[in-house]
Symmetry: C3
Subunit: 455 residues, 3 copies
């Protein structure tokens, strides 16, 4: 909870064009073939850098990161399966999912039988190409639609992967928006998937736009954005910043935020941290059809942030979660699967969560013995019609009743069922009426929460 002296302004909102800007970035990044290392990630971070002052880090292959070692760097130029007449029947140039991600280089003629040991398809979805990787087991391979595979009837084929898999480095991006406090909120997204949109170009775009929105705001917390390859990237960051993690107040892993599904929230390992409460508070108000997922030690980089040696307050806020939609990890997770509007809705939800984090604090009712007389301060509905929308009296009474120095606004919202933003309006009015003060105030100059400003 924010215990600093001045309450932050409420009503965070993204720019009107944010949805379009996110979708534009998604489109721009879509053709790039990414992996956990290599030029695809570098190019992706370069495009993000055009929007954000990103710091890009390179971690050499062979560097130890806890139990792991940064692998050789993989760069692929081309790859195909061709018949012996030279016709490409599976072709990386047509879709970068066709080459097994991290495939070792190969150039051989193989029997149909051997080819099929290295060929991945989705029999249930015969038109779609699956996404497969082999980061830590050296292997070569291809992915194709089941329909394509069915046409491979020759006895022999030429298999070519024109790739480098040799010492280089792992690349990740980092951006810190400084707030008044050194306590940090961590926003992390994985940048290692090739041409897959919801997972996770949507997350990259949302994190980028969220950072741009916060850049211009006076925040209590500092916000650290990580654009990291999945698993090995977050492990590398944690191993290089272990001491820093003590400053992490809480965080979110951003993934699958562009589809049309309802919101899902996967809780942190502890399950009742401030991020869990803040996200669920916002979703309860704004997305009654949301789904809550208890923590489990699988998924995306929350697995690392929530490993027992760190146990950070990090959850993951998505729309449809990975594995829950058939398009997941297939060529069908394409540009048609997400929209600017859905991205904008996700960004707005992230901003509301951040607003709760920023504005959650304890206040003190300065007239705690019996109710103060609201009427003489214009805070109570008078007889007859009112010519303007008053702040709901019940909301004012809840804030007064529970502002005993023990309950924060989140506590009050959870107990009363009143939306956090409505409580903020009441707080604004009560601060203006000198009926309330921040509970931590030896404060002389209390900035007002902008409750009355026409929200």
């Amino acid at each position: 909870m924010n215990e600093s002296s001045s309450p932050p302004a409420a009503g965070y909102r993204a720019a009107a064009a944010a949805g379009t800007q996110m979708f534009d970035l998604v489109e721009e990044l879509y053709p790039i073939c990414r992996s956990i290392t290599g030029d695809g990630v570098r190019e992706t971070l370069r495009r993000v850098s055009e929007r954000l002052p990103l710091t890009v880090h390179e971690v050499p292959s062979g560097t130890a990161a806890f139990d792991w070692t940064i692998p050789d760097e993989w760069n692929v130029r081309d790859g195909y399966v061709a018949d012996l007449a030279g016709n490409r029947v599976i072709d990386f140039q047509a879709h970068n999912l066709h080459v097994l991600n991290y495939s070792e280089p190969v150039d051989r003629v193989v029997t149909r039988e051997e080819l099929f040991e290295h060929l991945f398809t989705l029999p249930d979805r015969p038109d779609w190409i699956p996404y497969r990787t082999s980061y830590y087991n050296r292997n070569w391979g291809f992915c194709a639609s089941a329909n394509q595979a069915a046409e491979l009837t020759d006895d022999e084929y030429r298999v070519v992967v024109d790739a480098d898999l040799e010492p280089g480095s792992l690349t990740y991006g980092e951006y810190l928006k400084r707030g008044r406090s050194e306590e940090e909120v961590l926003i992390s997204c994985h940048v290692c998937h090739p041409s897959l949109v919801n997972d996770n170009l949507s997350g990259i775009a949302l994190a980028t736009e969220l950072a741009r929105t916060l850049e211009g705001l006076d925040t209590h917390y500092s916000y650290r954005f990580l654009f990291v390859p999945g698993t090995i990237g977050s492990i590398a960051w944690l191993s290089r910043n272990e001491a820093q993690t003590a400053k992490i107040h809480c965080g979110l892993v951003v993934v699958c935020v562009g589809d049309a599904g309802a919101f899902s929230y996967k809780k942190s390992r502890r399950g009742d941290t401030v991020i869990d409460r803040a996200v669920l508070n916002v979703l309860t108000t704004t997305a009654p059809d949301h789904k809550v997922i208890e923590f489990y030690p699988y998924g995306y980089d929350e697995r690392q942030y929530c490993s027992p040696g760190f146990d950070l307050a990090v959850g993951s806020l998505s729309r449809t979660t990975h594995g829950e939609y058939p398009e997941y990890h297939t060529s069908a997770d394409d540009l048609s699967f997400v929209s600017a509007e859905q991205l904008a809705g996700s960004l707005d939800t992230y901003l509301q969560v951040i607003e709760v984090l920023e504005c959650d604090r304890r206040y003190l009712n300065l007239s705690p013995k019996c109710e103060p007389q609201l009427g003489k301060r214009g805070l109570y509905g008078a007889v007859g019609a009112l010519d303007q929308q008053p702040i709901d009296v019940m909301t004012i009474l809840w804030v007064l009743n529970l502002s005993d120095g023990e309950h924060s606004l989140l506590d009050i919202s959870e107990r009363s069922g009143i939306a956090f933003r409505d409580l903020q309006r009441a707080v604004g009015a009560l601060l203006a009426s000198d009926l309330l003060a921040p509970a931590d105030s030896a404060v002389t100059d209390v900035a007002r929460i902008g409750g009355g400003s026409g929200q």
Copy 2:
């Protein structure tokens, strides 16, 4: 929990005529026009004083009470709307709800349009007169049925309110029934409503009869009865008795106890205090269709008792709660809406709650290692038929098993699901068999709970 040396006698019961006596008082008080100050309250308290040795307090207008100030005193003699021919079309003499409560004096001829700005009706219930007040905004006004209002077609009317609104005092009544302990149970009812029966002549009558019943009993707790104008009355009492509140063990606000509805209990702010547990224990046993309402900072004087600066263990036990029945705050809340029988049922429930408060204590099983042999003490059903109703063995076993000095009878009742009064019978038998003793006893002379006395 009562930890004094002698357990109180159980089986509190009101007099057989209590229902009739309560209804008689309701009828007697019905015609009086009450408000938060004035002679109506004084006359009401005088009638109660004929039944109880009430102390009547006068608090001068202008006296500060926390954030409030005692207002000018209001006394109304007459009021009407008349056509210009002098025919009264809305008349205080017909029903005291017709004059806006706390209306300032007026004697003018006004246009129909201006009249309607000061006239309150209930379009959905065209036969009923609403009850409206304007205590702290000086205003004049009238209330009428929508049917009456529809007949007001003249262009001009004379409006007369013959009232005084000037410095005087606020009046409230107080009665203390002393028990062996200085710890107090607070019973509070509001006395400010004019001719409205369920809200709250029913509460005034129940509190009066409850006090009369307790007067003759030897109780552990002291019982403080407050007959106060709503809001300003409880605020005045709290401001004048702030130090006293430390003695308040718990309490109930008595309101809407005469209608035919099921019981409702609104919890105290803390929600798990002894009064919450005692009331819910009784209702669970005797009124399975009861309704539980979590605390919210609105309603009647529990709002003040539960303000954060006091946070007393005060709930409110009603039948249908305010606002939940259409007759609420209208002329239809009349003598036909309550009955002697319903009042008697409410009084009985209040008495059972008090019995739980008085009798809840911890006992010690004096034979805690294995079960004592009940059979040799005649506490176990023998072979064959029994010629008298035994105390249920399971009840005896529960009392023995949980009487380890940590569990009170309320705890045992909650865990076992056995009615508190049945536990008391078992306690009586076990005390008589020397298998049980009060947990707090360096006590030599333990009075027995009258469990065997044919209840």
Copy 3:
């Protein structure tokens, strides 16, 4: 929780013939007329002694046991109701339930009316003989089917009970299987019922076979088996071994374990002890239709173990619990009511519970910062088909994530919903990979849990 140095081997299993052996013992014990004292119990314990090195104790009549006194010993040789022509119409030789258990000796001619005051039947089940006792009220009596009773139309009958009821002793059996620790798990069954099979020859047989199974195993805990007459037997044991009870880690009362019903578990008084958690963990995995019964101070000897002066962690694991099946305490609880297969299923469940008790411990993830790299240790599914059944990766990840020194395997099982035995397999693999160590280990030589041994 077991905090000793070496984790016990998992996968406890009874002998294949265990079901048959239990049923054979049941058959052998069925004809014997038992009571709370006397030669029937002695003969029963002698038969058990042929299978187990039982210690048999004799407690003289008149010995005090807390609030109780060991009663006179009862031995019955014969008993009948005969018409005056000498024809036995109710005959102990036909079924030992026909004589009221603990009937005093009698040899008289009585009127039909007097006879019926001493005759117990079950009108609702006219073919069945009820089981009735009169241990502590001297009385004579008979039990018969309602059909038999209907035929008793003579005016007078001769009633004969040829029994001794005089000073002797109470007999119980005890067997201690020593484990590495002095902490004990108590397994208690009552041995006082005559020819009733499910209640409780089934319990005697299961306890016997369970002891035989544990005899050959290296266990952490010691296991104390009590074969005691109901109520007075457990009270006698507790009074003679009061100091010993401090060593009791937890226990189970074994009763009604041979019928075809679903499992029922009655919790200990505290309700959340290790035995409650262990049993419910096993039943949740293996018997989803099981029933959970909150503790109540009635039933079998758990009443004594859970009396407030002891409050031991003792529950009772049954199939259909007493009183819940119509055959209960009647002649219909005969050999057809139980089966070898049902007994074997119950034994297996008891063994699984013991396995949880033995194997529940805390481990420490030795690579707690981020996930360890499972792939390089062969713990992660590789691309393509696997030629052997891997340990589920999610199970491994749960063990790693929660092995922070605070969570035991039971905790992990409860949180993850993964079966305890599956966690054990993962623990075995992780110990072998040096990714895990017992949390209490200053241990140098850690025996492995036999997770990989083809279970």
